[in-house]
């Protein structure tokens, strides 16, 4: 018991120590003049800028970005799972849809930003659809190949134990594919952040991506870094949330290195 709590303490304390150490060294190096502080601001001035952001438009930006990620991610990932199940399980749907989906897969979300602006204007729909595009493909391809790769012995066992096709799909194929699906979901989460920043940098008036660019024009590197760090923090927090959810939804994958739910 003592050993477990000391491991937990280490897991919390060591990252905090390493982060604190990094910023302290950076601060000292800047103050003794090892780098140009107008280009790489001191951690203390970034912190001041963050304070300014928190009081100013920061929360509006943060919530706009979070909302766009959430909307695009939910739509893109849901479509990815639904279509992945359909193309993975039904050969007719696979033959019908796979060529189209494969055609879209190499197109990066970034390339679609001007198109989305032309179609949907500078509103929320454009941003959410870019995020959804980025999120769809990893989830689709992982779901698709996951349900297609269930070992024959598992399917046979299910049949011999009296399960019909519907029950086999629900209780064998989909649970088996869930480790693949979760890998896709986690990959997409990272891509959603990339996509939202690009979308907000072209034709937006709020959001962390917009704030980075606005700070750039105002040559406020400290504000820029504050926004960048906010994106990083939001991403780390989301991943933490994701893993906590995965632990509850797919507890049997707890020992599976591929998903890293622990």
């Amino acid at each position: 018991m003592a050993r477990r709590s000391s491991i937990r303490w280490q897991r919390l304390a060591l990252p905090a120590v390493s982060i604190a150490l990094f910023f302290s060294l950076l601060e000292i190096a800047g103050r003794v003049g090892l780098y140009e502080t107008s280009l790489v601001p001191l951690p203390s001035s970034v912190a001041r800028a963050m304070e300014w952001l928190v009081r100013g438009p920061f929360f509006a930006d943060l919530s706009a970005t979070a909302r766009r990620i959430a909307t695009g991610y939910v739509v893109g990932a849901s479509l990815g799972i639904i279509l992945g199940l359909a193309t993975g399980l039904l050969s007719r749907v696979r033959n019908l849809l796979e060529p189209v989906v494969q055609l879209g897969r190499p197109i990066p979300a970034v390339a679609l930003v001007p198109l989305a602006l032309a179609w949907f204007g500078i509103g929320e729909l454009a941003k959410a659809s870019i995020v959804a595009w980025a999120c769809f493909f990893p989830v689709w391809i992982n779901t698709h190949s996951g349900v297609g790769r269930v070992p024959a012995e598992l399917l046979w066992t299910s049949a011999v134990l009296g399960a019909n096709r519907g029950r086999t799909v629900l209780q064998v194929v989909i649970p088996w594919a869930s480790s693949f699906i979760f890998v896709g979901l986690r990959t997409s989460l990272g891509l959603a952040f990339a996509a939202v920043v690009v979308a907000e940098m072209s034709g937006a008036s709020s959001g962390l991506g917009y704030r980075i660019l606005a700070s750039h024009y105002a040559f406020r590197v400290d504000e820029m870094l504050a926004s960048i760090i906010a994106i990083g923090a939001l991403g780390a927090l989301t991943d933490l949330l994701f893993r906590a959810t995965a632990r509850h939804v797919v507890p049997w994958l707890g020992h599976d290195e591929g998903v890293h739910v622990r």
Binding site: W156, A159, L161, G162, W176, P251
Partner: protein, 272 residues
């Protein structure tokens, strides 16, 4: 119904694996009969088609020629009457220990509470009662196989087919599994067909041992094992075991040697 019509039979069954890089005949004119309540083992060299034969008998593969009959009815798809345990692990990792057994009870016990009761009884019979709520990945190899066994008999099959299920276990777990399997076999009065390459295992368990030849596999000999049961007491084989085992081993060695295919010369090997 006469006794020859009961049980599970293969009649002149052949199996060709066509279409691949090397089309080959895996099984050639195999006939066998698993009689009701009988414990049958099949031994054979690796690659002789033992696994294919079991899949045919379970209705998972279709023979190229011949018939598989269960009580005189053709077996052309998997059914609950014929259970099978594969060499590979097939526990469902997303169900708990009890959940795995309940999965197999689902189609016959509609009520959730009585399904749970039946599952617990089955787990009891293989000594896994305390592990009801555990995940399969938390079990040892022997425990996992006991769970697989409990799950396989849950739908009350008439015949249970086993494909080298204990080959990955250590010697102690293996003999423990032999006892569990023999208990289940005698209590449930099912027929068991176990495929193995371990002659000790074959002689320890079986009423009859069938010896297969090299590919294309066919039944080359049949030996009835008349040793009284139990054949192992407190981990020691009873008198007479060695003699029978050596007879089977001698016969198997001769048959394997006689049927071994000619060595293939390798054109691409510069040393040869």
């Amino acid at each position: 119904m006469t006794s020859s019509e009961e049980g599970l039979r293969a009649v002149d069954v052949s199996l060709d694996y066509g279409g691949g890089t090397l089309p080959l005949e895996a099984l050639s004119s195999v006939s066998l009969h698993v009689r009701p309540g009988e414990f049958l083992t099949i031994v054979g060299p690796s690659g002789c088609g033992k696994t294919s034969l079991l899949r045919l008998l379970a209705g998972l593969l279709a023979p190229s020629a011949g018939f598989i009959l269960m009580r005189e009815r053709s077996v052309d798809r998997p059914s609950k009457e014929i259970g099978i345990i594969f060499q590979q692990a097939t526990l469902f990792p997303w169900f708990t220990v009890a959940g795995n057994v309940e999965f197999a009870l689902r189609s016959q016990v509609a009520d959730k509470a009585s399904r749970r009761r039946r599952a617990l009884d089955l787990l009891d019979s293989v000594g896994l009662r305390e592990f009801t709520g555990a995940w399969p990945f938390e079990l040892s190899g022997g425990m996992a196989q006991r769970l697989t066994l409990a799950r396989a008999v849950a739908p009350q099959p008439k015949v249970l087919l086993l494909d080298e299920p204990f080959s990955a276990l250590d010697a102690i777990s293996r003999s423990e599994m032999h006892c569990v399997l023999l208990d289940i076999w005698s209590q449930r009065q099912i027929s068991v067909l176990l495929v193995t390459h371990d002659l000790d295992e074959a002689v320890t368990l079986a009423d009859r041992v069938l010896i297969m030849s090299h590919r294309p596999g066919s039944i080359a000999a049949e030996v009835a094992i008349d040793l009284p049961r139990p054949r192992i007491q407190d981990g020691v084989r009873t008198a007479g075991f060695e003699k029978v085992r050596n007879e089977v081993a001698g016969l198997a060695t001769d048959l394997y040697r006689a049927s071994r295919p000619a060595p293939v010369t390798n054109r691409h090997n510069p040393v040869a």
